[in-house]
C-alpha cells in the first residue's frame, strides 16, 4: 500500500529514486539540489539502498561516471542544477547520443552572474538541445511520480534516452508537502529491470563514443533525431500506464480552464499553481482566461500544444530565463510556440513575458496585469519580442 506522509520534496525525490532500485548514484552537491544527493548518500551508507554511491569531485566527473555505469548496464541516477549543470553539460550531449537512459533530477536554479542560488529555468534551457528528454514538475507529488516515470520512459527500448526531471529549486525542492509515496511492490510492477540493447561487456566487446568523420556524422545525427522524434508515443505510454496503475494521470501538455478561453497563459513548473489561482480569480470576474502548462519540453509536444491553444485570441507565453538574443526575437518557450503557430498559419495575438528570474516572486497580480496588458494591446505593426515583468525602472 502506498502511504501519505509529510516529507521534504528533495527527500521524496531521493526516496523515489531508491524505490526504482538504482544501481549507481554519482553526484556532486550544489544548492538547491543538495538534499537529494545527501539523502541518497545516507540511504546507501545506512544500508537502505543497495547501490554504489560515487562521491565524485565535480559535476563533470559525475556525468562521466554516470555514462560509464549506464553503458555497463547499471540503472543510474544523478542530480544537479545551474553552475553544476553548466560544468557537466559537455558530457550530457554524449549521454544522449550514446542512448544511455540516465535519470537526472535538476533543482532548477538561475545561472551566474550575479551569483544567484534561487529558482528560474536557465539550466533547463541550457539543456534544451542536448537530446535529453525534459519533463517538468509542478508540485511535490509530481516530483515523486516523474522520477519513477523517468526510468520507465528512458529505459523503454523504443526510447533509450536520458531523462531530466526538472523541479523548481527551493520553491519545490525545499518544501515539505503531504506526499503519496508509492509502495515498492507497485513500483517494481510498473518498472521492469533495465535491459540495455548494448552494454560494455568484456565477453562481447563494443565501442561506445568512437570518432565520426564528416562522411558519417550527418547520418549519426539523423538517426538520433529520428529516434528522439519517435520517442513521444512511448513517453505518453509510460504516463498512461502510470495513471492506470497509480490513479494519477500525466500528459505532455496540461490544460486548466482553457475551454472557451479568449486568453491562454502558457507556463512551466511551479508558478503554474499561482497561475491557476489567478485564472480562478479572473474567471470569477468574468474574464475568459485559461492556463496551458508544458510538462514535456523535449521532445516538444507540438500537436498537443497547438490543440490546447488554437481556440484562444490571445496567448501569453512565460519564459523564466534571459536568452540574450539581441532584443528582437523572443525567449525560448515563446520561440517554440511561435514556430508551431507559424507552421500552422495560425496567428493569435501573442506576448512573451520574462518572469520569475533568479527567484523573483510571480504573483496572482502579475498574471492579471499580463492578461489585461495583452487584451488592451493593439497590433500596430511594431514587433515586441518580449517584455520583462516586475523590473524596477
Amino acid at each position: 500500500m502506498s502511504k501519505q506522509i509529510g516529507i521534504e520534496v528533495s527527500i521524496a525525490c531521493a526516496e523515489a529514486a531508491g524505490l526504482c532500485d538504482v544501481d549507481v548514484v554519482a553526484a556532486y552537491p550544489i544548492t538547491p539540489q543538495t538534499h537529494i544527493v545527501e539523502h541518497l548518500s545516507e540511504m546507501v551508507a545506512d544500508g537502505h539502498l543497495d547501490a554504489e554511491f560515487v562521491p565524485v569531485e565535480s559535476e563533470h566527473s559525475a556525468m562521466s561516471a554516470c555514462i560509464g555505469s549506464s553503458a555497463a548496464g547499471a540503472r543510474t541516477f544523478t542530480s544537479t542544477c545551474s553552475q553544476g549543470y553548466a560544468l557537466m553539460s559537455e558530457l550530457c550531449y554524449i549521454a544522449a547520443s550514446l542512448r544511455l537512459p540516465i535519470v537526472m533530477a535538476v533543482a532548477n536554479r538561475a545561472l551566474s552572474a550575479p551569483i544567484n542560488i534561487w529558482n528560474d529555468h536557465a539550466d533547463l534551457m541550457y539543456a534544451r538541445d542536448t537530446g535529453w528528454i525534459q519533463i517538468i514538475a509542478e508540485n511535490g507529488q509530481e516530483v515523486v511520480d516523474l522520477t519513477i516515470q523517468a526510468f520507465r520512459m528512458g529505459e523503454d527500448p523504443n526510447v533509450s534516452f536520458p531523462v531530466q526531471v526538472n523541479l523548481d529549486g527551493f520553491t519545490l525542492s525545499h518544501m515539505i508537502e503531504p506526499l503519496t509515496i508509492p509502495d515498492k511492490a507497485d513500483v517494481d510492477k510498473y518498472l521492469p529491470p533495465y535491459r540495455p540493447k548494448l552494454r560494455l561487456d568484456p565477453a562481447n566487446p563494443v565501442t561506445f563514443g568512437a570518432v565520426g568523420m564528416p562522411d558519417i556524422y550527418t547520418e549519426a545525427r539523423k538517426a538520433q533525431d529520428e529516434a528522439f522524434k519517435n520517442s513521444l508515443p512511448y513517453i505518453e505510454k509510460a504516463w498512461d500506464e502510470f495513471g492506470k496503475q497509480f490513479g494519477r494521470y500525466y500528459k505532455p501538455v496540461e490544460t486548466y480552464k482553457t475551454e472557451g478561453a479568449e486568453t491562454i497563459i502558457i507556463s512551466m513548473g511551479s508558478i503554474s499553481q499561482t497561475a491557476m489561482t489567478a485564472v480562478d480569480m479572473m474567471r470569477a470576474e468574468g474574464k475568459k482566461v485559461g492556463l496551458t502548462r508544458i510538462r514535456l519540453f523535449r521532445p516538444f509536444p507540438a500537436e498537443a500544444l497547438f490543440a490546447a491553444i488554437k481556440g484562444a485570441k490571445n496567448v501569453i507565453v512565460l519564459d523564466r530565463v534571459t536568452s540574450f538574443a539581441g532584443g528582437h526575437v523572443s525567449g525560448p518557450v515563446a520561440l517554440e510556440v511561435k514556430s508551431i503557430l507559424y507552421d500552422r498559419k495560425h496567428h493569435p495575438k501573442l506576448r512573451n513575458f520574462l518572469v520569475g528570474l533568479g527567484g523573483r516572486d510571480v504573483t496572482d497580480q502579475n498574471f492579471m496585469e499580463m492578461v489585461d496588458q495583452v487584451a488592451a494591446s493593439k497590433d500596430d505593426g511594431v514587433p515586441v519580442a518580449y517584455e520583462f515583468i516586475n523590473v524596477r525602472e
Binding site: 550514446l98 533509450s160 563494443v206 558519417i216
Partner: protein, 97 residues
C-alpha cells in the same frame, strides 16, 4: 538532388552509433593525407625496432630478413620514426602528386 555523400544509410547505423566489431580500426585508411613518406636505408639500419615501437599507427612490421618495413596504408607521415631512429637510417621524402 545533390549527390549523397554519406558513408552509409542512417537507418543502418548501430544503436547509439556503437561499434560492435572489435578491431575494425585496422580497416581505416589513415595514410591518405600524408605529405612526407619515411624511407629506410637498409645499409644503415641495425634492426633495433625503435621505429616499430614508436610508430603511433602500427605502420612497421618485421620482414623475413628482420628489417622493419612500412605499410603506407596507415602511415600519416608524422616523422616520429625518422626522429627516433638512433642511426639516422630513416629519411622523410616529399610525396608528389
Amino acid at each position: 538532388m545533390a549527390k549523397e555523400t554519406g558513408f552509409m544509410s542512417w537507418k543502418k547505423l548501430n544503436f547509439g552509433i556503437a561499434i560492435t566489431n572489435p578491431g575494425n580500426a585496422a580497416e581505416l585508411k589513415t595514410g591518405d593525407w600524408r605529405s612526407m613518406r619515411p624511407e629506410t636505408n637498409k645499409e644503415k639500419c641495425t634492426k633495433c625496432a625503435q621505429c616499430y615501437i614508436y610508430c603511433p599507427d602500427m605502420v612497421y612490421s618485421k620482414d623475413a630478413e628482420g628489417y622493419y618495413i612500412q605499410n603506407y596504408y596507415y602511415c600519416k607521415g608524422c616523422g616520429i620514426c625518422a626522429h627516433e631512429c638512433p642511426v639516422d637510417a630513416i629519411t622523410m621524402i616529399q610525396e608528389v602528386d
